[in-house]
């Protein structure tokens, strides 16, 4: 955190000064470790095993916060008797379809009171649906929507029934012993138990522990399940929804939270409404019902209102009840339109144009070579940035120019490079990791032709509409009917960011009175609003995001600095900070509680609960939606109002986290026969080869494990730091960190050159020998971990090779995030070959590793017909090479 979020880290230091203990768990000793109270080095890619070990510790020793767990989580819920766990099936769950490599979650469902045994309507009906979910990264929707499940499943309040979630969880994690953690993660039992004790002793009524993570957790083929394990831990210990507790997800850019709220993701609309799918949603009702999930609890039941308001914000007067608010104008997805799919489609000639806005995939995305080859095959490319980044000039300066794979004179891509205004040269809001919106004023006019994104897209739209004004083609109506009348000001006709924020907030159409809450959104077109979770940011006509009351002049919650969604609730699910009767769990941790005299919830924060719904409220028979939420359901977005220890529906790879090895790993999975995530998203093509992993052969060709992360001095793909003198001189060269032992083994000299090789490419850097990297003992042998920053490219004041050229494309199946935190590699002394020799060199490695065109190792490594093997290292049965598989 100190490396990537130095300013935010001041609060960790402040907490430490007040007595907090900071434990840093990371493969490498970083600047965070330097000030932390304890550093636990861990093998990269083994976090589920580590956290699972802590879950086991809690459950075996009954250290869970029992009252919280019984009342606020689904611990007491009974799971179907058809469910089979990874213990029974050697790393798979019941319902696996080896053809599609997805699960039919029927057997995972709750045991419901409804005797008909009908599946809840919203639940995925089979493995095919899950395969679709993988295509469309539906996990992202489920993340915001919570599980949509039956609202009254059968329960055992004593948590003793063998099929209750608590017991299922306990059995699932029983293998994750301290010995197992030591073996898999390379963490000593002493360190591991120290962490367990520290965490459990600092949780409960009187104390809470916060879990902080960033993309070192998400960028894995099991990334979502990493987070899930963290959530299980924090729920078991009663830390969710409580001050000083919770899970803080540190996001990688200043406003990237805003970019998922008002999304730049292919499968989401503002406020986490899912994009309609052309194959499934033939009408507005189809679409809205898929979000609403009749029969479950919670605020998604009002999805029709949120959707109508969004459509009306888009199409204004043209959107009416008669035309379903222009639903037919909405673009719809048909499958995987993710960034990696798109780039591979560019290589295949299927995608012709690309807009890159403050994004540098030539350096910042996995598989740099594929990125650049893709862009070289476009018809046109628009780049808006502060500098001429690598993604704008790959056609004349890139590794592929060096190797001859791209020839400048033959590259037909027409590149339009537009200068962008920087953050101080434009106004608008940023939404940071705490869901807080902060308005930024424009400090200075942008120079010359530099313009903001708002200006660019507004005027682009305006000009396109002018060109099409006379058109009678139906296809142009969606563009022409857009509500596109923003006020503009200034010499260059800059659109008013204020007006956009007002539109996002929403207002009553007739009176233009701003809405104060999403509960004021109507589903009849009389109100509009661009993002229901942001409604309230312009409450009472005041730009709440612009409030700057000093924290010294208000409570510790500081609600009058900026504005957090939803409804300025600073801690989500804060109903959980009070017990089932509505009293704070302790004076010390009082946050939100029920005031019986005033008959409402009160406290330091805006209650994340219906203000006047008492703790004693129980829902009437047959109720659903908001009405079905009871007084003890703090997790108001979940289908059952409870925190999920077990997820019966919504995740492609399983209801509980399971340790799978990273896709590229030198180790056989010691826990199960299933090596890596069996449902992961892969793009099996010759230009996307993967290094071999057990049980395949030739893993000695790439014997080391490598990981990447940031340096404080640079910013991500380097576009904002390599071009600035004061930053560039702080870290002027690309380097590779190795331990003294690895340096000795490979003859690497400190400050000499070395190069790192994978099946995709080889890159070079200076050697930095340091004891901050320790070889770890995993499964009885030493594993060397290598670290590289990924900030360098061919442009700027300081240049170097791009680390992301080493990675291939393999994705988490729920959200399609790439596995770029762990891979295998070789490290050799000296510089890499250059020119065409580089490709020969890399191909030589690939050949030696057994990576062959059109032949791919199986993803499912559980022996056929043998689902309960005692020895996960049992050799594979007969022919395990499947025919080539086009993964669509």
């Amino acid at each position: 955190m100190a490396e990537a979020h130095p300013v935010g880290f001041q609060w960790v230091v402040e907490a430490q000064k007040r007595g907090a203990r900071v434990i840093h768990i990371d493969p490498r000793f970083t600047r965070t470790s330097a000030v932390a109270d304890k550093h636990v080095p861990i093998r990269v890619g083994s976090d589920i095993a580590f956290l699972g070990g802590i879950v086991n510790y809690i459950l075996s020793n009954e250290l869970d916060f029992r009252e919280y767990v019984v009342n606020y989580t689904n611990a007491a819920v009974l799971v179907s008797d058809k469910f089979e766990d990874t213990d029974d099936l050697d790393g798979l769950f019941s319902g696996f379809d080896p053809e599609k490599r997805t699960y039919d979650p029927t057997s995972w469902q709750y045991d419901v009171e409804d005797e008909s045994g009908d599946l809840h309507k919203s639940q995925a009906n089979g493995s095919e649906e899950h395969a679709e979910h993988r295509e469309t990264a539906a996990g992202l929707q489920n993340e915001a929507h919570g599980m949509q499940t039956a609202s009254h499943p059968r329960r055992d309040e004593t948590l003793q029934h063998p099929r209750c979630v608590y017991q299922v969880l306990k059995r699932h994690f029983a293998r994750y012993t301290p010995e197992m953690v030591e073996q898999v993660c390379g963490v000593s039992q002493e360190d591991f138990l120290d962490v367990c004790r520290a965490w459990t002793e600092n949780s409960g009524r009187e104390r809470t522990t916060a879990l902080v993570y960033s993309v070192g957790w998400t960028q894995h083929s099991v990334g979502v399940q990493y987070i899930r394990t963290g959530a299980i831990l924090q729920l078991l210990l009663g830390n969710m929804g409580r001050p000083g507790g919770g899970i803080m997800a540190l996001r990688g850019h200043a406003s990237i939270q805003g970019s998922t709220d008002i999304p730049t993701l292919f499968n989401l609309l503002p406020g986490y409404l899912p994009m309609p799918d052309a194959n499934k949603h033939h009408s507005f009702t189809d679409w809205v019902d898929s979000v609403r999930n009749p029969g479950s609890k919670g605020f998604w039941s009002k999805a029709d209102a949120y959707a109508v308001n969004l459509l009306k914000a888009y199409w204004g007067d043209a959107a009416t009840a008669d035309n379903d608010y222009c639903f037919d104008y909405m673009p719809k997805i048909t499958g995987d339109h993710g960034t990696y799919r798109s780039v591979l489609d560019m290589i295949d000639g299927k995608v012709k144009g690309y807009f890159l806005l403050g994004q540098n995939p030539a350096v910042g995305s996995a598989h740099g070579r594929a990125q650049r080859l893709g862009m070289a095959n476009l018809d046109w490319l628009v780049v808006r940035d502060l500098f001429e980044i690598e993604s704008a000039n790959f056609w004349k300066d890139s590794p592929e120019i060096e190797t001859g794979e791209i020839v400048t004179e033959e590259c037909a891509t027409e590149v339009f490079l537009f200068p962008a205004a920087s953050y101080a040269e434009k106004e608008g809001t940023f939404t940071q990791t705490q869901r807080m919106l902060q308005w930024r004023e424009k400090a200075v006019e942008p120079p010359e032709d530099c313009r903001s994104e708002l200006w660019f897209f507004y005027h682009l739209g305006r000009m396109m509409r002018e060109r099409l004004a006379e058109s009678t083609d139906e296809r142009d109506r969606p563009l022409l009917d857009l509500a596109w009348d923003y006020p503009v000001h200034g010499e260059y006709d800059e659109p008013s960011a204020d007006a956009v924020l007002m539109e996002i907030n929403g207002y009553d159409v007739a009176t233009r009175r701003p809405l104060s809450s999403f509960t004021e959104m109507k589903n009849d077109g009389s109100t509009l609003g661009g993002c229901w979770i942001y409604t309230g940011v312009y409450a009472d006509g005041v730009n709440q995001a612009n409030r700057r009351k000093s924290r010294h002049e208000q409570s510790f919650v500081a609600p009058e600095w900026g504005w957090a969604w939803p409804m300025n609730r600073r801690i989500l699910y804060n109903r959980a900070s009070a017990d089932p009767e509505g009293r704070p769990w302790s004076e010390r941790k009082a946050y939100v509680w029920w005031d019986d005299d005033a008959q409402q919830w009160t406290g330091a924060d805006v209650p994340d609960f219906e203000k006047t719904k008492p703790p004693s409220y129980r829902s009437p028979e047959g109720a659903d939606g908001v009405e079905a939420l009871e007084g003890i359901d703090p997790f108001i977005m979940q289908g059952d109002g409870k925190g999920a220890l077990y997820v019966p529906q919504g995740l492609v790879d399983g209801p509980m986290p399971t340790h799978y090895e990273p896709v590229e790993s030198p180790f056989r999975n010691p826990l199960y026969a299933q090596q890596a995530n069996p449902t992961r998203k892969e793009y099996r093509r010759d230009d996307n080869p993967m290094n071999p992993a057990p049980p395949e052969d030739h893993i000695d060709v790439f014997p080391f494990v490598f990981t990447t992360s940031r340096l404080t001095e640079h910013h991500t793909a380097g576009g904002m730091s390599r071009y600035l003198e004061h930053l560039a001189e702080l870290q002027p060269e690309m380097f590779v960190e190795v331990s003294p032992a690895l340096a000795a083994e490979r003859g690497l000299e400190h400050m000499g050159w070395c190069h790192v090789v994978t099946a995709r490419s080889a890159i070079e850097g200076r050697v930095l020998v340091t004891e901050r990297l320790r070889p770890l003992k995993v499964e009885g042998r030493t594993v060397h971990q290598v670290w590289m920053p990924y900030h360098w490219g061919s442009g700027g004041m300081v240049t170097g090779d791009s680390t992301n050229d080493l990675f291939g494309i393999t994705l988490d199946p729920n959200v399609l995030i790439q596995e770029t935190k762990v891979g295998t590699c070789d490290v050799r002394a000296g510089r890499r070959p250059s020119g065409a020799a580089l490709r020969e060199y890399v191909e030589g490695y690939a050949r030696r590793a057994g990576v062959t065109d059109h032949v791919y190792p199986p993803i499912v490594t559980v022996p056929d017909g043998d689902t309960a093997s005692d020895d996960p290292r049992a050799p594979e049965a007969s022919d395990d090479r499947h025919p080539p598989e086009e993964d669509e």
């Binding site: 430490q16 001189e729 870290q731 003294p740 320790r774």
Partner: protein, 303 residues
């Protein structure tokens, strides 16, 4: 005893320099125990003071590519990687460049520490650079700080030799920079202080490792912080430069360190190089008188 124009001993520098009723002495307390090595101080200082590029080379000394304080580096963050147990003085436990492979198996290696510290001009109570400057370019401000006047400095370089910490230096580049040849160092953002503002580095530091304020108050705060760390078991914590009885009369910019000063590249017992000047001149005078007396005596004898 310290009198007016003393070269050593505890004094309040601004009144001693002749200011009548100056503001309270200003300085830095740098608490290195919370430094996260982010280098915001280096960058903020360069931005405000228009300090040009320094080395533009990777040095391999951990994450330190600035090397040391000089005319183009007025704040410098040191990074020292070392095992937690200090080696005995005999066996040169100095930080090495890169890490040499050791014989100890991994499990037995002592706990690792990574020390970080933002170094800066000390703004000594008795500033040797100030004492030796022949042009009067270096002067003592009303805030008790030591500042170079660029337009007066003739580039003689006496100050460079005089500084016991090796801070001040003459600018060597980049070519064409108007201040090449001129002595340059931290001004404690004199231009910001005169407007009641905080120096850039202190303003930028996210963890409040660099604290700016009245030196007296900072010293009290430092004692409290030291006590708190000792109570927490951080026995290696110590203050450096806070003692008015030390060889430079204490410094306006002082530190809380987590190891010996030498580990950070700081002199363990700095003494203002002009301390012995009065004595030296006295001896020189005695020697001259003795020489004259001897010469006179030899002439007298002749007759």
């Amino acid at each position: 005893m310290t009198g007016p124009n003393s070269f050593f001993g505890p004094i309040d520098p601004a009144p001693d320099a002749g200011y009548e009723d100056p503001p309270a002495r200003k300085g830095f307390f740098t608490d290195t125990s919370v430094c996260i090595g982010c280098k915001a101080c280096e960058v903020a200082c360069k931005e405000w003071n228009d300090v040009p590029e320094n080395l533009f080379a990777m040095l391999g000394t951990s994450y330190d590519n600035s090397h040391s304080l000089n005319a183009n580096q007025w704040r410098h963050v040191a990074f020292i990687e070392r095992p937690a147990e200090s080696k005995p003085l005999v066996s040169l436990g100095m930080p090495t460049v890169g890490a040499t492979p050791t014989e100890l198996p991994e499990e037995e290696k002592p706990d690792f520490r990574w020390l970080m510290s933002s170094d800066v001009c000390k703004h000594c109570t008795h500033a040797a650079c100030l004492d030796v400057c022949p042009t009067g370019s270096l002067f003592r401000s009303e805030f008790g700080t030591v500042v170079v006047q660029d337009d007066i400095c003739n580039g003689c370089g006496y100050c460079v030799a005089a500084c016991p910490y090796g801070v001040i230096d003459r600018r060597k580049g980049p070519e064409g920079d108007p201040k090449v040849g001129i002595a340059q160092k931290c001004t404690l953002c004199y231009d910001r202080l005169t407007d009641g503002q905080t120096p850039s580095c202190a303003q930028a530091c996210p963890t409040e490792s660099i604290q700016y304020g009245d030196v007296e108050e900072l010293r009290a705060r430092a004692e409290e912080r030291l006590a708190a760390l000792h109570e927490r078991g951080v026995s290696e914590a110590r203050l450096y430069g806070n003692d008015p009885e030390d060889g430079v009369g204490g410094t306006g910019a002082f530190f809380l360190l987590l190891d010996e000063p030498e580990v950070y590249g700081l002199p363990p017992d700095p003494v203002v190089t002009t301390k012995d000047l009065p004595e030296m001149w006295t001896r020189a005078a005695v020697a001259a008188v003795a020489m004259l007396a001897g010469a006179a005596a030899s002439f007298l004898r002749r007759r």
